[in-house]
């Protein structure tokens, strides 16, 4: 089994300490940091997404796989700064909307997008529209991914769309929304660009927009 196949398997199995060991070992053996992504991390998390879709994996399995992927990426990211081969697929400003403190879903989306090669600017929970607009400007983001768990806070997604319009930035970004009470119809009604029913859907959606651009 190649080192990439090995790393893929331990990420899928959610073994973070082993993922770290294999990554370290590969680097010592002269593997280029940028190689790990297309050959191990991205395919591993794509497989995790497929298993989630097909009801083979559930939240705990996805969380431990994402932690294992992160154990590898935490080692690799600092080595990739300025590496042209590792240009991110896109920059995503991520957050749970104003008034809402729930972040499990948002975190899974962030980890899966990150493992798919996107750069993630995670603003955390209870994020105001102003903060999102500022982050889009500062990081030159081309995606915003918003989460809400509550019917009382999902309405605050619209405020983000409005704030982007007011700042003249609406066309610079694609807005993806998700969370338990959120639906495709809701996304459409507030003028978002897409709705992801789960984390793999969010990744698929983001990739679709990237390839269409």
């Amino acid at each position: 089994m190649s080192i990439f196949e090995e790393l893929q398997q331990v990420i899928i199995d959610g073994k973070a300490p082993v993922a770290k060991e294999i990554t370290d070992k590969g680097l010592k053996e002269g593997v280029k940091p940028s190689e790990f992504f297309p050959k191990a991390i991205i395919p591993a998390m794509d497989e995790v997404g497929r298993r989630m879709r097909d009801c083979e994996f559930f939240i705990p399995e996805v969380l431990i796989a994402a932690r294992a992927a992160r154990a590898a990426t935490d080692i690799l990211r600092p080595l990739l700064l300025g590496d042209e081969a590792m240009k991110p697929a896109g920059t995503v400003v991520l957050g749970t909307v104003k008034g809402d403190l729930h972040d499990i879903g948002k975190n899974i989306v962030g980890m899966m997008l990150e493992s798919a090669g996107f750069r993630i600017i995670d603003l955390g929970v209870d994020v105001s529209p102003e903060k999102i607009v500022n982050a889009v400007k500062q990081h030159n983001a081309n995606f915003i991914a918003l989460s809400a768990l509550l019917t009382t806070t999902m309405v605050n997604m619209k405020a983000v769309v409005d704030a982007l319009n007011a700042a003249g930035l609406r066309d610079a970004v694609k807005i993806l929304v998700g969370g338990a009470p959120v639906t495709d119809a809701w996304a459409h009604s507030i003028g978002a660009d897409g709705y992801g029913k789960d984390a793999p859907s969010a990744v698929e959606l983001a990739r679709k927009f990237v390839s269409a651009a």
Partner: protein, 425 residues
């Protein structure tokens, strides 16, 4: 006309009573946000504007469903709960407070909050401001969420006792409370009792962060807990084993003082479903949770007349055969907005074996964002689907939230009154 107690009893036996029984406020997942209670009371002419409503559950800010409101709506079930709330203090010695939406409310004396510089509100376990806060309401928010107090986890140092701190043998004072309250409700009202004795919910994520404990130790973070159910399963299993032993001993003592006055016991509120499917695999349910559910339910069925009540949000149809097999008699909240939770399918496949307590109207879309006409239509459909043949207690899918048009709430209860009588039309 039947008494409320008879009505609920008949429904739980899967027979048609005189009308579909109604629960509002008999548990912390079948209640109503204080803002909505306040508006509803005013619309029904029970209160003048500005009259404060008691917050009986401070975490989700649920309002009191007082006897006058119960009478006005025809509520059939009341709660028999422990003396302390989620934050570990008693609901007593009320004082005025105003929430972010400007609703005047009454809160217990130990509802002690501090503002944060950003406008958030912090809440303290047992109301003790000398320890770190355990709850946070974001500025403009409607509820508290747990502040996660999680030390970095060192697997070598994990101790079962740390995750068992909140599960203790019941005190004589608490037993006396249950005895008195059960007696009072049974003799002074005709309502059915939904009891929450605590301690038999395994891995309830609302309780894992232990908002009522001053210095919780062990695995207390939400993500850390879910990760642990996969990576440290044997350890979690051992926590459940010990918890189950304590819980069963407590149930035995409680049963001695409340007897069979209880219609249903709220055994677990652990969420096994998410919006699009089960939260965990059915196999993980069978391996990690079901053995303890079987143990608790077997004891209940062998020794009491109580029905066993499971609350689990989300898409749980794939797990219903296991829930039924584990001995549960009642499912709540029946989240029909989740995947694979079609009301007719649920009723046809499982309606003869489990009572649906909830699912009366959707609270993610219809109640907050629909028109009164849409609410009426859905309530009629759900009454017909779930109510036929009994085995149904009307309740919204989970608590009625804040920011709900009061017209929609009125439309729901009017429809229940007009169309909830058997035979259903």
């Amino acid at each position: 006309m039947m008494t409320s107690r008879e009505r609920v009893s008949v429904a739980l036996q899967h027979e048609e009573a005189d009308r579909a029984p109604l629960d509002l406020g008999a548990s912390v997942v079948t209640g109503m946000h204080v803002d909505t209670v306040s508006l509803l009371r005013q619309r029904l002419g029970l209160d003048k504007p500005g009259t404060p409503v008691k917050v009986v559950e401070p975490y989700q800010m649920l309002g009191e469903i007082a006897p006058d409101l119960m009478d006005a709506l025809g509520v059939d079930v009341v709660s028999l709960g422990g003396p302390s709330n989620m934050f570990g203090f008693r609901n007593e010695n009320w004082k005025p407070w105003t929430n972010f939406s400007g609703t005047p409310v009454l809160v217990p004396e130990n509802f002690n909050t501090d503002p944060e510089p950003n406008g958030d509100i912090l809440m303290y376990p047992e109301g003790d401001k000398s320890v770190p806060p355990s709850g946070r309401m974001p500025k403009g928010g409607y509820y508290f969420d747990s502040v996660i107090r999680q030390e970095p986890v060192d697997d070598q140092k994990l101790r079962l006792e740390d995750n068992l701190e909140e599960f203790r043998p019941i005190s004589d004072d608490d037993l006396d409370h249950f005895r008195r309250e059960a007696e009072r409700i049974y003799t002074q009202t005709d309502k059915a009792i939904l009891a929450f004795f605590g301690g038999t919910g395994f891995g309830d994520i609302a309780l894992v962060p232990a908002p009522g404990l001053k210095n919780p130790k062990g695995i207390r973070g939400i993500e850390e807990w879910y990760v642990s159910t996969a990576l440290r399963r044997d350890f979690v299993y051992k926590i459940f084993e010990r918890q189950c032993e304590i819980g069963l001993n407590n149930l035995k003592k409680i049963h001695q003082v409340v007897g069979n006055k209880v219609a249903a016991a709220f055994v677990t509120g652990t969420d096994f479903g998410a919006q699009n499917g089960p939260f965990i695999s059915p196999k993980a349910y069978r391996d990690l949770y079901k053995p303890f559910h079987v143990e608790v339910n077997n004891w209940i069925h062998k020794n009491t007349t109580w029905k066993s009540f499971i609350h689990s949000c989300g898409s749980v149809k794939a797990m219903l055969p296991d829930f039924i097999d584990a001995g549960f008699d009642v499912l709540n909240p029946v989240q029909c907005s989740a995947a694979c939770m079609d009301p007719s399918d649920l009723k046809n496949e499982f309606g003869d074996r489990i009572t649906f307590w909830g699912g009366g109207v959707d609270t993610q879309k219809t109640l907050p964002f629909g028109t009164p006409e849409e609410v009426r239509r859905e309530v009629r459909e759900r009454l017909k689907t779930f109510g036929t043949g009994g085995g149904f207690v009307f309740n919204t899918t989970h608590n009625v939230q804040a920011r709900i048009p009061v017209e929609n709430v009125l439309a729901m209860y009017e429809t229940l009154r007009d169309f909830g009588k058997y035979p259903l039309s």
